[in-house]
Symmetry: C2
Subunit: 445 residues, 2 copies
């Protein structure tokens, strides 16, 4: 190891390997299983959530696309092998050298709603090739699903108004683009994060910070108008001016004075946003700037977004609550071995009971499109009767013989999956309050 290996952003010239985004015990279990021959057994591992956090009524599957990328980069190059050699026998290290996942993965489409017990991912192959993927699969699904699930609630709370994700500074620097992606998946309109724009094609947006207004000060006092003039000169009349650095009423007056009544928008980042939005709207209208939009930000979550429904707000900027999953920063999914050589297996000690066997899942809807139930059934059994309902198979092929399915959806297509899912929920399911899952899940043999 060179000293560069201690550097977070150092990467090998052949790209970043995801192989060490792994818990050590996966590789020591692998070593033991290779030695005793059980590593070759055909296994199914399933990822699912036992419950939804905080009385949520649905979850949104996020991260599937990123997971397929991570799988493609799950390769042990020399640096990863050197790290593994520190605690593994040479035969295991040799096995890792040639590692390629050659099995099958089915999963709920990215953006699909899920409920407690939904088998959102089904990974099949030898024990050896499946067990090593546990951590990277769960990290991605748990993070992205947590963000997407929180974001979807904000999207319904906003009722069609524009939502801008601006939480990058409140989460790990590389979790930030993934959060922006998950928010966009769930229906947000844009992000402040430039890496998310580049990597994932999420539309980027931004206004201005208080620092820019403060920069335009001198020994002779503040020059808010100068800051506004400069921003308009650089970004055009469609820009959004931040009007609350000093006095909001004065800030709005200055903004229109400088920009004229065609100003794109003003942003309010502090204070009682409802009261201020009404005052500012009235002021803008009085000045003839009826089309100038009002953007609000500052510790917004789905509840405060909903509380502003009656106010003249045009767009919300959401930060902390989005990237921290609004009280549920991880989705709580687990990755469990459910089948070995065709036989179901399950842990049986107190609590945390699991259901053995490879599963499939159907979602039942009325003719109107409203969903009523999810049926999880044994892949080895017969498909349950669903007469009188539209029934849709939820698990779709993601990987076959180690190769990702060619018909991988774009992020924009996955946005449609979320939008359709939200429309399919019964009314109760869209409540922001804590309660039961929107539909029940039944388990058939």
């Amino acid at each position: 190891m060179t000293s560069a290996a201690t550097d977070t952003y150092h990467v090998e010239s052949n790209g970043f390997s995801t192989a060490l985004l792994t818990d050590r015990y996966e590789l020591t279990m692998l070593a033991a299983a290779l030695a005793d021959g059980s590593a070759r057994r055909r296994c199914t591992f399933e990822a699912f959530a036992r419950r939804l956090p905080n009385g949520r009524r649905y979850g949104v599957v996020g991260g599937t696309g990123r997971l397929l990328d991570a799988l493609a980069h799950f390769r042990f190059g020399e640096p990863e092998l050197a790290a593994a050699a520190g605690f593994l026998d040479p035969a295991t290290v040799d096995w890792l050298r040639g590692y390629r996942f050659t099995g099958d993965i089915d999963g709920y489409a990215e953006g699909e709603l899920y409920f407690p017990g939904s088998p959102v991912l089904s990974v099949r192959g030898s024990f050896a090739e499946c067990v090593v993927l546990e951590t990277v699969i769960l990290s991605i699904l748990n993070h992205d699903s947590a963000i997407a699930s929180a974001a979807a609630r904000m999207v319904t709370a906003a009722g069609g108004r524009r939502l801008i994700e601006m939480g990058s500074r409140r989460t790990h620097e590389l979790a930030a683009p993934a959060s922006a992606r998950a928010a966009y998946l769930a229906g947000f309109d844009a992000t402040s994060n430039l890496e998310a724009a580049r990597r994932f094609g999420v539309p980027s947006a931004g206004t201005s910070a208080h620092a820019f207004t403060l920069l335009h000060s001198g020994a002779d006092g503040q020059h808010e108008a100068e800051a506004f003039r400069s921003q308009i000169a650089a970004l055009g009349i469609g820009t959004t001016l931040l009007v609350d650095t000093f006095d909001i009423t004065r800030g709005v007056a200055t903004a229109i004075e400088v920009a004229g009544t065609d100003l794109g928008g003003v942003r309010i980042d502090s204070g009682d946003l409802g009261v201020l939005a009404r005052q500012v709207r009235e002021q803008l209208d009085g000045l003839g700037a009826a089309k100038t939009r009002i953007v609000v930000s500052g510790d917004l979550d789905e509840y405060s977004i909903a509380a502003l429904r009656a106010e003249p707000v045009d767009a919300y900027g959401v930060g902390t609550s989005l990237v921290t999953g609004s009280g549920a920063p991880t989705a709580g999914m687990v990755y469990k071995l459910v089948e070995v050589d065709g036989l179901p297996v399950a842990k049986r000690s107190s609590h945390k009971q699991s259901r053995g066997g490879t599963k499939r899942a159907l979602r039942l809807a009325r003719r109107t499109g409203t969903i009523v139930e999810e049926i999880v059934y044994s892949a080895a059994g017969t498909r349950p009767a669903t007469a009188g309902f539209e029934a849709r198979e939820l698990l779709v092929p993601l990987v076959r013989d180690g190769v990702a399915a060619p018909q991988r959806p774009t992020l924009v297509e996955s946005r449609d999956v979320v939008a359709r899912g939200l429309v399919s929920l019964p009314w109760e399911g869209l409540k922001l309050s804590a309660g039961e899952p929107a539909i029940t899940t039944s388990f058939a043999d």
Copy 2:
């Protein structure tokens, strides 16, 4: 852009650039400031937390080392410039092409305790070169400080017993190694995460999963003993066997039967951990395995760790609560412009008031080493009188003229900073309950 640009793990061959881990508005403010000439003004930006989350009594600065790495990789190469060119004028893009931070950064040493208002980072240079660093600086400090602050509470709760970080699967895949690093900084003993071991030298550890026991089953039933034998054959008698897959009492008996009384440890991952730890200890002692350790895991946080103090637990495995900051997943630090061309500036609208001017900070302690107060004072003023107390300057040079200080501490040295900080707290400060900060911070001119 090639299709590879949509791939999370794709990196340019010259390494990963952190330049787009940035909010768009930083670059549009830059564009406006370059155009109007204000970009050259000498500025100070400071990072600080207005409050500690959830009535915490102290925070732990985490991420400084990673931040210096990120700064070194903050370079606009062709891919980053191409992304910027989508919304910036050519002159700004040209300026970014040559970007190097050439200013000075002072900061609290990594591992230092902090309190509301502590100026944990002071960044000085032209507006242009400082403003673009806002997001990446805050992302790193907010994430790593949140994890380190939660971890430190767990460390004091564990009272010297071994703590293993195993939360990788509950957070973003690349936040996971950073979380492991922050936990180790705060006093954890080891991590399950292999990337953290490789990148940061955190000791790695691991036991086994239920999947490994379940793998050893067949049509003729379960073979827990076979799984245990296999694990011992591969990892030696010092390994820790997971005994709660089926029946814990039977699992313990089988473990000692197979391993003998020199078995390293057993892990319990479910049930009432206090009751089970006592039962298992008694059983192990009765079987003559008095030295076999008991490791517990399963939704532990600082409160449940403390509640197990009277029980015969040798080590704790902590996952979800660690990587999610135990209820406070972000530290809430902000990055504010406080000085322009030698004059203090501050936002003055309602709420969120900031103090203008470049600051320094002293921590006062009694002769016994117990800290009593923090004094934040103007760097332009005189150092406050501190007669009768030991006074320590908290801001240390991190970067001078764009170059990182050569005496950068190792992670192990930063662990000592945390350990010394925790010892310096007044008794009240170590309480897990919600309350006031352990010491008051006063602001002098």
